[in-house]
């Protein structure tokens, strides 16, 4: 509304200016960190010749696939006002499960399907506890973080399950035409996530619950069911992330994925999703994922030493968000 205002004010002054300004507004309005991402991209392209190559961009995307898939699921959960701290452990469990099944001789498609079902069931369990028992998601998923990790370790006795199957490796390492399979999977998940969230009733219920749970209930939305479904859906998607990761590493390790929940949450929040729920977009999340991945890639390309990477990462993330917050404030004061 305000944007319209300001552009209509411009309109009367200078007609050429508007379209340009308008376009910029549209781009910069998508996520919360668009300016930051754009600047990061430009700076990286300038300071290292290795960054802006097709090869490297494909490389970055492929690396970000696991994080991206996780972050899509996390976006749904956070928009309901929830959180999933067990995402990393879910990756471990599903990686171990799919590897264990394949090693045990289960055909690959079936192993994958079963793993996704297991992931869905884990999510279903968490969602049920959260929505029916009224326990904060933070606590439920924190408890599940250690429980699931424990299960993965007990199941494998701490030793990764190696999958030498070449077909399975294709998921994380192979190509479909010129595009890595992992990227294709990531894109499909992101598109499904976007459609579901922004263009179906289910998605709109997700927002409504996160925004005003009471209003949702009074409008006849089955709040418990929707919440439970979000975690179950999330669990299935986390399982897909776990499968891609296991394939990339050719093994199911109970250590895999540990701690990645924080990256996923960070990507979602960087992308402008409100940690208190009700607000957020898949497109924003993609940008958050891009920032984190490009940053990691760039620092490696630039051969920055490991301790300095820590500091630089923090500063860049802070600056990226800060740039957008300036914009937001300038907008508000128009």
């Amino acid at each position: 509304m305000l944007k319209n205002n300001s552009s209509s004010i411009e309109m009367s002054q200078n007609n050429k200016n508007i379209n340009w300004k308008n376009t910029l507004f549209v781009i910069f309005d998508k996520g919360s960190t668009t300016i930051g991402l754009a600047l990061l991209f430009i700076i990286m392209s300038i300071i290292t010749t290795d960054f802006l190559t097709v090869d490297n961009l494909v490389n970055v995307m492929r690396q970000s696939s696991v994080l991206c898939i996780m972050a899509v699921a996390m976006t749904f959960i956070i928009i309901t006002g929830g959180i999933d701290l067990s995402a990393g452990s879910q990756l471990a469990v599903s990686g171990v499960a799919v590897s264990g099944l394949i090693v045990a001789g289960v055909p690959i498609p079936l192993a994958i399907l079963l793993t996704i079902i297991i992931g869905g069931l884990i999510g279903l369990f968490m969602g049920t506890v959260i929505s029916t028992q009224n326990i904060p998601p933070f606590i439920v998923t924190l408890a599940m973080l250690t429980i699931l990790s424990g299960i993965a370790f007990v199941y494998t006795e701490g030793t990764p399950i190696v999958v030498s199957d070449a077909v399975f490796r294709e998921i994380g390492r192979g190509f479909i035409g010129p595009i890595p399979t992992a990227i294709v999977i990531m894109i499909i998940v992101a598109i499904i996530g976007h459609l579901l969230l922004s263009h179906t009733r289910f998605g709109r219920y997700v927002y409504t619950i996160g925004d005003n749970e009471e209003a949702a209930r009074l409008c006849g939305i089955n709040v418990k069911l929707v919440k439970t479904s979000v975690y179950a859906f999330g669990g299935a998607i986390m399982a897909i992330a776990g499968i891609v990761l296991a394939s990339r590493l050719s093994s199911g390790s109970p250590n895999a994925g540990t701690g990645s929940e924080l990256d996923a949450i960070a990507a979602v929040v960087l992308g402008g999703t409100n940690l208190f729920g009700g607000e957020g977009k898949i497109s924003g999340t993609l940008m958050g994922v891009a920032i984190i991945s490009i940053l990691n890639n760039g620092l490696n390309l630039l051969n920055v030493s490991s301790y300095n990477q820590l500091m630089i990462k923090g500063v860049v993330i802070l600056l990226a968000v800060w740039l957008n917050s300036i914009k937001a404030r300038r907008k508000a004061s128009v």
Partner: protein, 500 residues
């Protein structure tokens, strides 16, 4: 006579062991407008929430067209065609206006995807039929409370309800919107819809209702056809169980020096060159339609809205008000129009809410003197008759009107020099209104200058010493005491001239 569509029988509801409703029964016939009246906290909203299944009843029975409904929940009631405009608005701030209209039943296309085009189009049509100017694509967080109220009304219409419950639908609307709403009620009734209508504005009850049921202290008192109700006074008497002497306890006091002077106040697109002043002991009314900029004047005075031009003088001295804390230091108090979003601290107790801006007063050494704090809260609980078991109760469990009284006490304790009241009696019952007006009068007597924004013209007429009327961000006119009439206010608000 046709058979009842809804029967509530022997409904009892207790919260944490305390009864909010005791053995209440109610029968609603198709195509009628049934009023539900009673004091704040009488149990009207609770009874309606039981009917929609938002609350589960402790005991009693619900019948729909003669058939017993066992487990009523919001989904079931929606299926039965029961729709409710709740007292506390249920708007999702980060969804669009159109989505809020269709909340929970957004139209979808063949693929199961949301049909945005149709949704926006339909919303637009509904808004047009309600003569309101709202952009369906706007985010709900950017609109005013009156507009949110209109969204709820639009939602109700879009539902094709058979039974429509309206819990104080006009509490934040002004004359024009109220008129539209009331004609809508009649129209729906003629189409055979049954309407349950809750309001503290008695004139509305007399205008549109066929039957009235009175609740008092959670108990059923009486149901009778409106034709058998003699006048407002007799209905009020049933509600409050005593004779009301007067509604507007205005005390005439000598009016003092000018304490506030507003000059050329402007804000692009909202306020245009506003000039007025306020004297000590004076009650200045601000009238106007929704969206005319009344709230914005208050916000500018309180440092919530950055003005583009103009000056504010207090005691003839220019002041710079950059934020609410500056305003408070200058002795200004402000009761906002939207208690839920800008007033209440919902997780805290009644006492916390009353003492919030006054804590400095109770602080001795480092710590808050809880005894002093409690005592003053207790005093105001009594003074304004706030219905709560204890001041230590969480404020969210109070009825709407009682919450409003707590917020008002907050600012009375502050002893401001200038008190701004934006819709101070929103949702307050007639008895309590009289109490609040008595208190406001007393403040004026002590020399406080009062600015009272109200959409209820009767309140403006009954209470103000002088009135300014706003229209589309400009000051349409100023009325001295003997010129303050309903007619004159309306003429100015709609853009006509007045005859002196």
């Amino acid at each position: 006579m046709n058979s009842p569509i809804i029967e509530l029988k022997h409904i009892t509801k207790s919260f944490s062991g305390v009864k909010a409703l005791t053995d209440v029964s109610l029968t609603v016939h198709p195509g009628s407008v049934h009023a539900l009246v009673g004091e704040n906290g009488a149990g009207k909203s609770t009874l309606m929430k039981i009917l929609t299944g938002a609350y589960s009843k402790s005991s009693g029975e619900i019948f729909y067209k003669g058939e017993k409904v066992e487990n009523m929940d919001p989904k079931t009631s929606k299926k039965l065609g029961i729709h409710c405009i709740y007292q506390e608005l249920n708007v999702a701030n980060y969804l669009t206006v159109a989505e809020n209209v269709f909340l929970g039943s957004q139209p979808v296309n063949k693929l199961g995807l949301i049909d945005w085009k149709q949704m926006n189009q339909t919303a637009k049509e509904i808004f047009a039929s309600l003569q309101i100017n709202l952009d369906p694509k706007q985010m709900a967080k950017d609109i005013s409370i009156a507009q949110k109220q209109m969204i709820e009304i639009a939602r109700a219409i879009s539902q094709d309800a058979k039974i429509l419950i309206m819990d104080e639908p006009t509490s934040s609307l002004s004359e024009r919107e109220t008129e539209i709403l009331l004609s809508l009620v009649t129209e729906l009734k003629n189409k055979g819809v049954s309407i349950l209508y809750i309001s503290h504005r008695m004139d509305e009850i007399f205008k549109v209702c066929d039957t009235v049921t009175v609740l008092r202290d959670g108990k059923y008192i009486k149901s009778l056809p409106m034709s058998e109700v003699k006048d407002v006074d007799s209905l009020v008497e049933l509600m409050v169980n005593r004779k009301m002497e007067s509604y507007f306890n205005k005390i005439e006091v000598p009016i003092g020096e000018t304490i506030l002077d507003v000059q050329n106040l402007s804000k692009t697109g909202v306020l245009n060159n506003i000039n007025f002043n306020l004297r000590s002991g004076e009650i200045l009314g601000i009238a106007g339609l929704v969206g005319s900029g009344r709230t914005e004047i208050a916000q500018a005075l309180f440092g919530m809205l950055k003005k583009d031009a103009g000056e504010i003088l207090i005691d003839n001295k220019k002041v710079e008000i950059k934020g609410p804390s500056d305003a408070i230091k200058l002795g200004i108090g402000f009761v906002t129009e939207n208690r839920k979003e800008t007033g209440l601290v919902l997780k805290q107790t009644v006492r916390d809410n009353i003492s919030l801006p006054n804590l400095r007063k109770y602080t001795t050494n480092l710590f808050i003197n809880k005894k002093a704090e409690k005592k003053e809260s207790e005093d105001y609980k009594k003074k304004l008759n706030i219905k709560t078991r204890s001041i230590e109760q969480t404020i969210s469990t109070l009825s709407g009107g009682n919450q409003q009284k707590a917020i008002i006490s907050r600012w009375m304790i502050q002893e401001p020099r200038i008190l701004i009241l934006d819709e101070p009696c929103r949702g307050v019952d007639v008895g309590a209104k009289a109490e609040i007006f008595a208190q406001i009068s007393k403040l004026a007597e002590q020399g406080v200058g009062i600015i009272m924004i109200s959409s209820e013209i009767a309140e403006i007429v009954g209470m103000s010493d002088r009135t300014i009327v706003m229209r589309e961000g400009t000051l349409a006119g100023e009325l001295e005491k003997d010129m303050i009439t309903s007619d004159n206010i309306l003429k100015l608000a709609f853009g006509g001239g007045i005859s002196a």
